[in-house]
Symmetry: C2
Subunit: 339 residues, 2 copies
């Protein structure tokens, strides 16, 4: 059902993507991907009493919509796996508690979307599940007050800072699935990398080494080159982190400049929307993947995509204690049904 080469698991019978959905906030809907999102929430509170409850609602809505689009009910989902950035991952536990689906809670910071999608695929391919759901989210307002400043404080942002995306994305993965559906062909789980970056306002730089390391491992394991893929998509390295990752790979004679993009660069019109280095947060990769990317894959416009969400595994406490920022990146190889 699967084989392992180096660090990469290849699926002999690749699991299918039955459905997917994205839910975003107002700022994301004002960006270049507006037409691709499933649900747009103009109210940052989503009718809830707190931003944390609003983020839980983002997850709930994304999963519910993904199930509908997949034409499947919650009781047919063997496992749901996901997580978020909030302390103790409360967006997931509160957002998902009403579905009654066995829950595998993850923490991968902003790498959670590819971690959950990779794990969902692996578990489907193993035969332990017919269907799994993967989910992740972030919310600008809950993240700001947890990681940075209270919103009302109006703190200035450094030029290297990124803007936490208000959004969630969910993917329904199935062991079977009709011909023509997008498929997950391989997954590479990343190692923790730490090059000593300590600037919490420069997460892209902290995460770039993890992305470079995981991609290099995958290319070696698969015996492929960057030009074999239509798109190599990182999660939220942003402008600066993307450039750093490309340079790190160039040092190893891997040139991805021609077909690399980053969800953090795609989700906002960076200059017009004043988001400095671009989008970030678990919801950045989740909402871009579950909107334009998977729509383009489903339509056959993209045939061969490497998705690689990256996570900065620090906390405010670890940074205050002078620690550097470890990071991790997990890679998922997605193909259109045509291939």
């Amino acid at each position: 059902m699967l084989t392992k080469t180096g660090r990469t698991v290849f699926f002999k019978k690749p699991p299918a993507i039955l459905g997917f959905a994205s839910v975003v906030g107002k700022k994301e809907a004002n960006g270049p991907l507006k037409e691709y999102f499933d649900v747009i929430c103009m109210d940052a509170l989503l009718g809830q009493k707190s931003f944390e409850k609003a983020e839980a609602q983002l997850q709930n809505t994304a999963v519910a919509r993904a199930l509908t689009k997949a034409g499947i009910t919650a009781d047919k989902i063997d496992y749901i796996m996901g997580g978020d950035l909030l302390n103790q991952c409360i967006s997931s536990s509160y957002g998902l508690r009403d579905f009654g689906i066995p829950f595998i809670g993850l923490y991968g910071a902003c790498s959670t979307m590819s971690e959950s999608l990779g794990l969902a695929s692996l578990i489907c391919a193993s035969g332990a599940a017919e269907n799994c759901a993967a989910i992740s989210s972030s919310h600008f307002c809950s993240a700001e007050r947890q990681f940075r400043f209270p919103l009302n404080y109006g703190g200035q942002r450094t030029p290297t800072a990124q803007w936490t995306v208000t959004g969630a994305g969910s993917v329904i993965v199935s062991r079977e699935g009709k011909k023509g559906l997008p498929r997950i062909k391989a997954v590479t789980f990343g190692k923790i990398e730490d090059l000593g970056i300590t600037d919490i306002n420069n997460m892209g730089a902290a995460m770039a080494p993890a992305a470079a390391s995981t991609l290099a491992a995958f290319l070696e394991d698969s015996g492929t080159r960057p030009e074999d893929y239509d798109l190599i998509l990182t999660g939220d390295l942003g402008v600066l982190g993307s450039d750093l990752m490309e340079r790190l790979l160039m040092d190893n004679d891997i040139n991805i400049r021609a077909n690399h993009n980053d969800c953090g660069k795609m989700i906002y019109d960076i200059d017009r929307q004043d988001t400095h280095c671009g989008g970030s947060g678990c919801g950045c990769c989740a909402s871009v993947l579950c909107s334009k990317i998977l729509r383009d894959v489903s339509a056959g416009k993209l045939k061969n995509v490497l998705l690689m969400a990256t996570g900065a595994l620090m906390s405010t406490v670890s940074v205050q204690q002078g620690e550097s920022i470890p990071s991790v990146a997990h890679l998922v190889h997605i193909t259109s049904g045509e291939e």
Copy 2:
């Protein structure tokens, strides 16, 4: 390689437990299980500059010792999966970053030990890994200041409160493994259960329904009865939660009183050590499993054990916002090599 009945995955060729190790603090070493722990740290800081760094060190030491006892090196481990209670799971990311092992970060609160062990077993059984490591930890001092009060404040504890264990436990799981080693025969991942408990000082009560639900599902899926097991071991329900779980099951005509025990009741001499309802924290189940329990299983004194760690999936923020406490319990069926 595996079959699924209801919510339970049964392994046709059960993965082996190659090695395991526990690391605990002074209070735990003064309890009834003293002789079973591998490493005892008399200094709550473990020579580090903060309790958070000390907890990361607990994880590092537990994994290193488990690898040594298993007679295997880190480069032979395909994946390490684990998590902890601290915000953004920093004990795991900092404690594990030096091993260079692909990392699957989990958040299951105090259910993390059985979540990681179950997932490690599933991934080994699937063929995606030869060897996996599972790890979890907690530290009284880092947990108190994050979840409750600064230690110096000297706040009084309610009678229903539990005492967060300073400890870590790690298990090395292998697809193969010599005859005679303990085996993981099945795993049941739990659903999120929430009966509306809002008292953060009564976590046992919040988690009892999840444990009852997962155990009932496993017994049905496996067609077995409580008396078929030498020990049904919950993670950290404590005195009150254990009693509640037993009652909830009795309502469904499942009587586990004769062979149920709880790591939170076992790790301290509750009256002498003034720990009220007993031990708690991810490290409670981890350190009890990786000391007395797995030693007894290895020696054939225990032949058939159901391990079920339970997690309360709340945060201080969710509780302050008036939310109830959702919980989850994952079950792992462990047998001695003799069976």
